[in-house]
Symmetry: C2
Subunit: 224 residues, 2 copies
């Protein structure tokens, strides 16, 4: 059925298709290979919250607004889109991605971070060579923090003029097959949209809002 | 400050601006005029839930999937974007819009509904003449109901093959000034994003998710 829908979309004139919702192809989880590698960066297990606050404050003083970029990667399982989430030490879920270097461009920084978290090649965070061929699509959402540690908002509240952190989500278009090689201190899980939606308690406000952000896209779910 | 931002955006090359987030201009609430008119359609106050279920079932049997289209209209107040919501008889909040006629196209149907709810000209629901010059932008979200009365989902759950209703949200770009003329049984309110966000208890799952859907846009908030 997925392939049929794809053909219909292809038969539409380009402009009409663009005016509707952009189509996104999703391939079965079974077509991807999952492996492990040594962690690029030793986990910050020893950092206390107070230490972290100090570090972020010092970074803000030196470089200003902290910008994080994250990728939303989708696969198919049981005919339903699943989001790939990293689970750190059996607890919190995060999207693959991370903080930009000062002056680094969004898309380039996200490619670097995706390689560092999900590829064999990006086996060091200092990796500066050719990054993997990630197809980074549109920015689908943006969140702001007034203070480090504050609950993020999907808008800039009128009360704060100098936000401390901006978190951007980008849709990644995956090829039909690829290898994901994940640091050993993390697990890569495929979580169904139906489980994530509205479940801020488990996934936090940003991830739990992803199904809403994706709702305008028409998916071509390619089943096995 | 708003005007300055606009100039910066205009100075960027077209492609670079498009590759970032589409800019949306928002004008002060004070530039709009609000008036009242007699209701286009008498309110369905006398319809019982059972009657409503029967009516929707009969409609589904005759015409298939019910599609509703809604407009997200934004104004500025206190330097913060506000969404225009209709309040019916001091209780529930709804977005301006409504159900498409069988075979009616999304944008045309939404223009007809916006005129019927918000314009002098569309003073009858059967109004078929030239609709107001509404600038209907992109579809920003889409929700599905498996059954009439069921909680809507921002995705098509794998379990249901024949959804009963599809609800689409479109971003409307307002001119710098215009008249809103609203049926007497409704109120048009400007509600801040900060109040709507995550507040499903008051605004329902669809409206409370709008700030998230809008987060990728860069707003040029034009203050008085």
């Amino acid at each position: 059925m997925g392939l049929e829908m794809e053909e219909v979309a292809a038969a539409l004139p380009m402009e009409a298709a663009a005016a509707r919702e952009p189509g996104v192809e999703i391939y079965p989880l079974s077509l991807y290979y999952f492996g492990a590698k040594d962690a690029a960066v030793p986990p910050r297990a020893v950092e206390t919250p107070a230490d972290r606050a100090l570090r972020l404050k010092a970074n803000f003083a030196a470089h200003g607004l902290r910008t994080s970029v994250h990728g939303v990667l989708l696969v198919e399982l049981f005919d339903h889109p699943h989001v790939l989430l990293l689970q750190v030490r059996n607890s919190s879920f995060v999207l693959p991605g991370g903080r930009l270097r000062p002056g680094e461009e969004d898309v380039q920084g996200l490619k670097r971070k995706l390689s560092s978290k999900l590829s064999v090649v990006g086996d060091s965070d200092d990796f500066t060579g050719d990054v993997d061929d990630w197809q980074v699509g549109e920015c689908i959402g943006m969140w702001w923090r007034s203070e480090f540690g504050a609950v993020p908002c999907p808008y800039m509240p009128p009360s704060f003029r100098t936000p401390k952190e901006c978190i951007k989500l980008f849709l990644i278009r995956l090829p039909m097959s690829r290898r994901f090689v994940v640091p050993r201190n993390m697990k890569l899980l495929a979580v169904p949209l139906s489980q994530i939606h509205g479940n801020a308690q488990v996934y936090g406000p940003i991830i739990s809002g992803i199904p809403n952000l994706l709702s305008k896209f028409s998916f071509n779910v390619i089943s096995d």
